[in-house]
């Protein structure tokens, strides 16, 4: 089980670092109107030029790999005891080397989308509050909910759902 979790964290960390390569903030310049898709990943009407760019495959940094994904029960935003050890270690790391982090809250596909959006935020806040209790400065933490819009596992089984009710620390 631990191996599985570690593999998943590794996989996720790798995927996240890859993703970071293609994340960009939106520009609001009028100039970008014609190729807005390329800058922000958004295409309004017609233009079909929103290509997927090649992304560099970063290598892992050589530090201890901590769990970065924390799971929740159905319709719940209470932190599970299993998450505490890893979060405490994250808190120590963040206190020693302060950096901005993002907590992305997610839900499973059951239930309505905007309600799940609220639930995802609650889960992110539960993690933020735990880190705050450990002494981490909350001004460096941003909580973003994705509700059920970005499932980690695409299926519709209970095990898919339990993998999707999560907070990802990025």
């Amino acid at each position: 089980m631990n191996n599985v979790t570690t593999m998943r964290s590794l996989g996720l960390a790798l995927m996240l670092s890859v993703l970071a390569g293609c994340t960009s903030t939106s520009t609001q310049d009028q100039d970008s109107a014609n190729n807005g898709g390329a800058d922000s990943g958004v295409t309004v009407g017609g233009s079909e030029n929103a290509g997927v760019n090649d992304v560099p495959e970063d290598t892992m940094e050589d530090e201890v790999v901590l769990d970065t994904v924390f799971y929740f029960d159905f319709d719940q935003s209470m932190l599970k005891p299993a998450a505490r050890a890893a979060l405490t270690a994250h808190a120590e790391r963040l206190k020693a080397n302060p950096e901005s982090i993002r907590l992305e809250g997610h839900g499973d596909e059951t239930g309505t989308r905007e309600y799940n959006m609220a639930l995802g935020e609650r889960r992110g806040i539960a993690v933020r509050d735990f880190l705050s209790l450990q002494g981490v400065d909350t001004s460096s933490i941003e909580v973003i909910s994705y509700g059920e819009e970005r499932p980690a596992s695409m299926g519709s089984s209970d095990s898919d759902y339990s993998q999707n009710r999560r907070v990802e620390l990025k």
């Binding site: 890859v18 898709g37 922000s40 958004v42 239930g111 309600y115 499932p151």
Partner: protein
Amino acid sequence: MNHLRHISALFRLSVLFAACLTLFAASAAHAQLTIEITQGVDSPTPIAVVPFGTPGQLALPEDVAAIINADLRRSGLLRPLPKDDMLSFPRNKYEISFRDWRILGAEYLVIGNVTRSADKYSVHFELFNILSQRTVHSQTFEAGLNQLRDLAHYAADQVFEKITGIRGIFATQMIYIEAFQNGNEAQDKFRLMLADVDGARPRLLLESKQPILSPSWSPDGKQVVYVSYETGRPAIFRQEIATQVREQLTNFKGLNGAPVWSPDGRTIALTLSKDGNPEIYTLDLASKKFTRITRHFAIDTEPNWTTDGKGVIFTSNRGGKPQIYQVTLASGRIERLTFEGGYNARPRVSPDGKSLVMVHRENGVFHIAAQDIASGDMRILTETYLDESPTIAPNGAMLMYATRYRGKGILAAVSLDAGVKFRLPSKQGDVREPAWSPFID
């Protein structure tokens, strides 16, 4: 479009990509949803719609009678006779043999003609009652050369209304979300689409690599409002359909969700968590002023306006589980509306204001349910799986919703009396969050 271009420094609103005004022409790249009727009423009224006549060698891009037939069949209330059963194709009333149609079992007959001039089509049709042998209705419509399909839908609306007394919704449209996700976020693609309500003529309104959700119409059917994550965070945008001009309406920390336009078009109700907790707010579009409506430590979200615009109905778990509540805006008074079951959420009010539809969980399964507001009686309308996002047609007779079918997200529809059911399977991606347009004049 100039009226959309207010720029308010206070709220950091900005018109994005205003120069991108190209109208998106329907293209083969956007797969059309096609309809499969899964249940009709027991004894729909038989009607014959004869192939429409054209002068000389005029070839039409659309089969007008076939479109009318498909519309009427989808209503579930009428049963169009197959073309192969017809003994003749009359083009005017003098060619009609009422006896033949009576023997075929038709109660009504529609005949018509299409003519074309340099820049427009003209459709003339006549509806007959076979038993009385009288004309019930006749009418001529004209429209541009790319609008023959619209003319067919208008004719179907008229025929349907004359026979059933219910205003037709065949000329209305829908918006919905199309999502392509394979587990690799880098390849995610989300699209906001606009299509005829029969799934034809899909048009792209917005495409993004980040989620798009909660699309909703302005009451005049000219604009849409939705949530987009394109900035890396959820933000609410409005977009004018004809010009594609967009305006970002919110940019708060936390949730920016569930936008719905008020019946008078002046205000948008939405969910924000900028004060630490999900609450319902209203945004006055002229002044850009936000007003907080709910104050509770629970989740308050998924607002929908009452038909008179004086109240907002919403989902809250203030009682422990998600249920539906109504707040009266003037007094702030809050009333709980649903009591049956442990999960009732995302309400939509019927156009007559008398009933609610919502997502209801029973025995762990999510269905669409309707509740009579006055009596509190609830009926479950669907029997599919993971049903959500109900949207009611502007005539109040049907609703569309999102469900799963063969492992994919699809749209389906059911009449409010649950007698008629059909689904619109998608050839590609997951289709969800339909929003039925208002009547478009």
